[in-house]
């Protein structure tokens, strides 16, 4: 519309989208009135060098304020552009060489890329959620199925009575106690060795080939299949150390199996304590041991304990390592007295829950289904209880973390 036929009367309407030129004031106001009011924030009249206008130069405009019939002041804005045009027509007739500047309201509008980013975000989140569900559904299904099948058997007496009638009746006290002692003794062996070894490797060991080799050995030990541990336990503890197939041999084998993970988790927990804490202590003349005792251990104990407890759960569930080293199919144990609470000596063979379950499934022809499932539920309940304990402990110790 750039028809500059009458230069002396040129009226410009400028906005962020460009500048239009109109030959007369009336034409300019017509165009102004037709603009979409919602997009405009303010209108400003700028007299040119030779221009003139009878009223002031700043006019305001706000369609978002309700019920207005203002006259274009900041306090009293015009309701829309038509009103603005009508108002300006009255006293702007003589105007010439004036620019009407329109400020557009800045509105947030997403670009297509931003829209896509938003959608992408939801898609990715949904995929991850599906993966979590893929994890949770089997857990719930397994637990639910086991509980459903085990319901008829589950009772106080099932847990605290010994198996009877060639394991086709009675409870699971003997294997439960066996598992308890196996885990307890393996923990007594593995926890001190593992934690102290982890402290040495993380806090004292220099970064040389020997210590890298040790680190590699620990990692590889963690990868050794448990049946291989069993074979080692048979050779080392049962035969060489002459423990025979016994509680102590089986516990030692379990300890060897859990050691590498305890060492690794201890190292990781220690490494999470910032190096600057140690340096600050060393700079004050504290020894490494003083630093470990006063600063490093108090702030890593939650991680260390978590690692240890998770290994308890693993040791409770493993069958293979105790298979050749001390587990028994069936043992007759006392139904009351000290023999009831402590059914096994260190050199006796033991029953264990995992082994008991295997025996019931494969060796006993007419074992009632609910006893099999009941054993499984108690075993998995034991593992879950230990894991919950570990989580609870971690939450408690984390809440006392000091940085």
């Amino acid at each position: 519309m750039n028809n500059a036929t009458m230069p002396s009367r040129d009226i410009y309407i400028t906005s962020s989208t460009g500048e239009d030129c109109y030959p007369t004031w009336d034409e300019a106001l017509d165009a102004l009135a037709k603009l979409p009011s919602e997009d405009v924030k303010s209108v400003r009249l700028i007299p040119g060098e030779t221009g003139s206008i009878s009223r002031g130069s700043n006019y305001y405009f706000d369609t978002h304020l309700m019920g207005l019939s203002g006259n274009g002041t900041e306090q009293d804005p015009w309701p829309d552009l038509a009103a603005a045009a009508a108002d300006l027509a009255q006293d702007g007739a003589a105007a010439k060489n004036v620019t009407i500047e329109i400020k557009r309201r800045v509105i947030f509008t997403a670009t297509r890329r931003e829209d896509w980013k938003r959608i992408q975000q939801y898609i990715v989140q949904f995929i991850f959620f599906l993966m979590v569900m893929a994890l949770v559904i089997p857990v719930v299904a397994i637990l639910g199925y086991l509980f459903y099948k085990a319901m008829p058997a589950l009772s106080y007496s099932f847990v605290f009575e010994n198996p009877r009638d060639r394991m086709t009746a009675g409870g699971i006290w003997a294997p439960l106690a066996g598992t308890f002692f196996l885990v307890l003794i393996s923990l007594l062996i593995a926890a001190p060795i593992g934690v102290f070894a982890g402290i040495y490797l993380n806090e004292y060991a220099k970064n040389n080939w020997l210590n890298r080799l040790i680190g590699l050995a620990v990692v590889n030990l963690a990868g050794v299949p448990s049946i291989v541990h069993a074979l080692f336990g048979l050779g080392a503890f049962v035969l060489f150390a002459n423990f025979g197939e016994s509680l102590i041999a089986a516990s030692a084998t379990l300890a060897i199996m859990t050691l590498p993970v305890i060492i690794t988790s201890t190292r990781e927990a220690l490494a999470a304590v910032p190096m600057s804490f140690r340096e600050a202590c060393w700079n004050m003349g504290a020894t490494k041991w003083q630093t470990i005792r006063t600063i490093v251990l108090p702030n890593s104990i939650s991680g260390i304990l978590t690692g240890v407890i998770l290994q308890v759960a693993r040791a409770a569930g493993e069958t293979a390592p105790i298979l050749f080293t001390g587990a028994a199919f069936y043992l007759k144990v006392a139904d009351k007295g000290a023999g009831y609470w402590f059914p096994y000596g260190l050199n006796d063979k033991v029953m264990a829950l995992s082994m008991h379950l295997y025996t019931l499934m494969t060796q006993v022809n007419n074992a009632p289904e609910e006893i099999v499932y009941g054993t499984a539920v108690v075993l998995i309940g034991l593992v879950l209880a230990v894991n919950s304990l570990s989580i609870g402990l971690r939450v408690y110790l984390r809440s006392r973390k000091k940085w």
Partner: protein, 250 residues
Amino acid sequence: MTPHVEFRNVTVQYGNHIALDDISLNILPKTIFGIIGPANSGKTTFLKCINRTIDFIDAAKVEGDVLVQGESVARKRNVYELRRRIGMVFPLPVGLPLSIYENVAYAPRRAGMNDPVELDALVERCLTQSVLWDEVKDRLHSLGTKLSGGQQQRLTLARALSHRPEILCLDEFSIAIDPVTTMKIEDVLLELKDQMTIILVTNLVQQAHRLTDQTAFINASKLIEYGDTEEMFSDPKNELTKRYVTGDFG
């Protein structure tokens, strides 16, 4: 006067990187010795050589001799005795995950001081010297790690003073501290000069000028020049030093 700290042809290498190249200098007792120089020129390594925390860096190799009161630190059997005599403040503020009180009492306790009255007095003295006492005296038993960065920096200084050092090494102590507090600490340092030798590493050339008796300029691992501060700033012998102290460097 025998030097308090003496560097004799000290060279430090981290693998292939030379961090200090053949440094020899003397630091006189009861003076403030400034070390200035651009980043990554070996200033922090210099301090780590004195209290032998350089030992904790596996790759570091130290040649030459660092002597404290005429004794080679490398030949010290009990390095903890050496470190107790040297207070060290590094630029990153580190509040130990203990209470403010225990932060300051840490070193004295490790050294066997257990009398509560003595400890109280010591904690108050150290926190006052590091201009932190007024801000924390009502919450001495809250966590040191919860303090602001600048407060933790001063806590670090209080800790360094807690074991009554003979040598106080300050590495950029004022980096997180506001100018007013910095001035107060500078005043304290000038008072402390009667009791200890202070080695001050600083990026603020003016701070070195204000505080120090002698200054060394280290650039790219090499000692360019060192001497009386007044002389260094008014009449530097080396062109590089002149440009650095006048701010025309690079």
